[in-house]
Subunit: 190 residues, 2 copies
């Protein structure tokens, strides 16, 4: 059993490129307002460090900046300070390489762990990852939008969590639900 | 440990009235598109029976019907049959009384369990509720939108699950995240 009172360092990245579309073509997906809010709120609830939004598109980055700014410095900050606190974790970066450069700033590369709705290689259980987190290992969780991270992107990660399963083989969760469940499994207290 | 292979009967209701707003006034909140989709997808993933959307407003009920219809019979049904399957669980009802009448059709009232971001009386643990679910008890989970179900609404429920907590005392999850986490805690498999 992991000692949940230990400090931990978990970051989350929501990747909009490179991901697959429905027809398994490599695309850049659109940033959505509720992905920013819901994942920032879940991240803050579970005590993550940073929530990276990865998109190469300048207009999408500008949109993220405007939304976050509204709740950090604009009308939203006074209207709902809880939301401000959640959105303070949001950082924007261009692509996976700049994400990895950012999180390795201090010279220590985190354990990069992806999640997938499909069973993949490099499997790591929730229990084992939880142990490593509460022993102090820095972990970066990658979540793909659209129909998931590309094979090339997954080739570079260190480990893969098993798909979130319920009853039967239907597991078409929204990425917002998947992030919430994965953070709860790793960091939640019941 | 609950026997997860037993059949179970869990329904979910997302309540838009009566709930509190930010100033603790009793309001009817607006239905949102992503609440319909995300919770239907999570519900289908975890094998719930029905997903009730409770709102007294006819225009909101019409909107829900149109959104669900698009994915059941319209263009969406052909475009994404997984989404169709999730949205097939959606039912609309006017208020809590008609919800209770609907779920008691066969004469057996389910255990009505609410969730709240705040600690309340009538506490029931996730483990105990899971045991009851997999022993065959019919359970209806109520989730409030806005700033949560009113005290009057909570007075009528049978039990309350503890708030979803992570690290520290920040627990301002979206209702989409809260439903996903609660269903995973009760019905998920790791």
């Amino acid at each position: 059993m992991a000692d949940r009172d230990q400090p931990f360092h978990v970051d989350v990245a929501l990747v909009h490129y490179p991901v697959y579309n429905k027809n398994r073509e490599v695309i850049g997906s659109a940033v959505t307002n509720l992905d920013i809010h819901d994942i920032a709120r879940a991240g803050r609830t579970f005590g993550i460090g940073a929530y990276y939004i990865v998109t190469p598109y300048q207009d999408q980055q500008k949109l993220v900046g405007e939304i976050v700014g509204h709740w950090q410095d604009g009308y939203g900050a006074a209207y709902n300070s809880d939301r401000q606190e959640a959105l303070n974790t949001v950082k924007i970066c261009d692509d996976l390489q700049s994400l990895y450069d950012l999180v390795c700033r201090d010279g220590n590369k985190p354990l990069v762990v992806a999640t997938s709705a499909k069973e993949q290689g490099k499997g790591l259980s929730y229990g084992d990852l939880q142990q490593r987190i509460f022993k102090g290992e820095h972990v970066l969780l990658l979540f793909g939008t659209g129909w998931g991270l590309t094979e090339d992107a997954l080739a570079d990660v260190d480990a893969m969590l098993p798909p979130v399963c319920g009853h039967g083989d239907y597991n078409h969760l929204s990425v917002r639900s998947a992030v919430s469940i994965v953070l709860d499994r790793l960091l939640g207290r019941t």
